[in-house]
């Protein structure tokens, strides 16, 4: 257990060091980047950045200062917004994204599991075909297309919701559907094929030989075992939902982290791009670690060790 943690943390730290270094020097080589003191910037920001990064210091010192800032959790000032730090922006917008992401995750898991199990139990019947069609569509229609279509139909044509606003729960419906579509499709496919596989297993036959009811066999024996591989998908799913929010939040004008990220890319707010990239990396790596840990808790066969598989 301790070895596993040590190894995972080591990898996480190295990955962070890598992405920080990559962003720092990446931004450094850009003409007119945040570290280019010849660039014309509003004086307040110019002062902030100079103070923060010590632009007159040698390059290596700037780099280590930047890294120590990251370690302390200080991601520096924004390049475009006067008097706001990256931390301020995260504090303000992350809860919005987290709420939206959380709803989408719940939606994807609930719908995906239900459809997947249903499809497997009713193999080659209409429920199965419906689930497969939904999964295939969810797989093929990009989230930004889905978001735009939903917005067009439900906001512009039917007028049921406002096209772009954030605040009430109704406003979360369309964005969370857009975000949840791809993970829902993935979970449906995973769950369907896992269920079909598990239902062929010998231990299901053993359960039947015990005289258990079909319903009990499915709930107690089949679903639990079919669920295991789905848990490993939760890490990539969180990443998919949070990076998916880049476009969905922009389309629905939701003041979340994703929209800030897109705006920062659009505005070339370099320090914000750097800060948010690092924040996303930390967040998603932590989520991955949690998922791996939960897998070990759920599956009694998995023993957490420092060894590779």
């Amino acid at each position: 257990m301790a070895r596993f943690f040590a190894r995972r943390f080591g990898t996480m730290l190295l990955a962070l060091l890598f992405i920080s270094t990559f962003t720092f020097f990446g931004m450094k080589v850009i003409p007119g980047g945040p570290f280019d003191s010849e660039k014309q910037l509003p004086p307040a920001i110019q002062k902030n950045i100079e103070e923060k990064y010590g632009l007159n210091d040698p390059l290596f010192k700037q780099y280590t200062d930047y890294l120590s800032g990251v370690v302390k959790g200080d991601l520096g000032p924004s390049f475009k917004y006067p008097n706001r730090t990256v931390n301020d922006i995260i504090k303000e917008s992350f809860p919005v994204s987290a709420a939206l992401g959380g709803v989408s995750i719940l939606l994807a898991v609930a719908v995906g599991l239900t459809l997947g199990v249903l499809a497997a139990l009713k193999q080659n019947q209409w429920q199965d075909y419906l689930a497969v069609i939904i999964a295939t569509l969810g797989f093929s229609v990009p989230s930004f297309v889905l978001a735009a279509l939903l917005q067009y139909v439900f906001a512009y044509k039917l007028g049921w919701v406002l096209p772009a606003m954030w605040g009430t729960w109704q406003q979360a419906i369309l964005p969370s559907i857009s975000l949840a579509a791809l993970p829902t499709a993935t979970i449906t496919r995973l769950m369907r094929s896992n269920m079909l596989e598990v239902l062929q297993e010998d231990y299901i036959r053993t359960a039947r030989a015990k005289g258990l009811k079909n319903r009990v066999i499915i709930y107690r024996h089949a679903i639990r075992n079919a669920l295991m591989p789905v848990v490993t998908y939760l890490g990539p799913m969180v990443a998919s939902i949070f990076t998916g929010s880049f476009v969905v939040e922009s389309i629905f004008a939701i003041p979340g982290l994703g929209r800030y990220f897109v705006n920062s890319v659009f505005n070339r707010d370099y320090t914000l791009i750097m800060g948010l990239t690092i924040f996303y990396s930390i967040f998603l790596m932590t989520m991955n670690l949690l998922v791996d840990l939960s897998y070990a808790v759920i599956d009694p066969r998995v023993k957490i060790t420092g060894k590779k598989e």
Partner: protein, 335 residues
Amino acid sequence: MPEHLLEVNNLRVSFFTHAGEVQAVRGTTFAIGTGEAVALVGESGCGKSVTAQTIMRLIPDPPGRIVGGEILFAGQDLAKTPETVMEKIRGNQIGMIFQDPMTSLNPTMTIGRQLTEGIMKHQGLPRGEAMKRAVEMLALVGIPQPDRRVKQYPHEFSGGMRQRVMIAIALACEPRLLIADEPTTALDVTIQAQIIELMKELKERTNTSIILITHDLGVVAGLCSRVLVMYAGQIVESGTVEEVFYRPKHPYTYSLLRAVPRLDARTKERLVSIPGQPPDLLNPPKGCSFAPRCEFAMRICRERPPEDRTVKDGHLVKCWLTEPGAPHVSLKGVR
């Protein structure tokens, strides 16, 4: 003969596949008395397991279906019993052990839980009581430290130990019939003997009837009094172990016995394999199903299927060679 606990009459089971109807069991008839242990032997794919799973009604439908015959268990025809009633019979009146103990237990559930779910269902015991019974059962099948082992998962058990757990599960509700489908095939030889010994012990203690399915003739004699030899979905010879093994009357049984390696074999005695393959059950041959491989095949064997013929009290053979007009051939038994 004791009162029959199980009587299978002219059972026919088919699998309906894309290629057509595969007649896996083609008119199987046999009976088992209370407390009797019977072996069902034959090559892979001869219909042994299908017969066993049909008695338990575990054949997935589709594609499998009982197309004829009856399965009288304690007077009730299981072939026509609705699923809800079957649930009360499975695991309760009839227990079953499967071939591969490594995959037959749910990997994500403790042994105790897998043992208690049947007990709780059939005997209506509360969880605590059922757990006590589970510990008793584990002790009965010879698992050390049963009170600690119930809390463990299957992967913490060895193959032999898992098969003991399977036996405990099958016998937890004291069934009247135990069907063991190749219970020793996946185990090491030394463990095989232990498992057969355990089954024998439990049979004597509880007077449970046993159907032992195997292709290993070696394990038969240790446990069973009677043998059914199955070929291509039919029972071609049946009788006491002594009769069938020492005085086989069917060329298939004879070939099967010659194919068993023996430690005490006299010098130069060779193992003989059976040439050819079992028939395609999509279109079974119109005559005797063994005729294409039979070294004593006669013209009639290709034309017409043989009927059951009693050669001695309780020794039935399905072979034209037993016909009075047939030439005499020498089929020596083993030992």
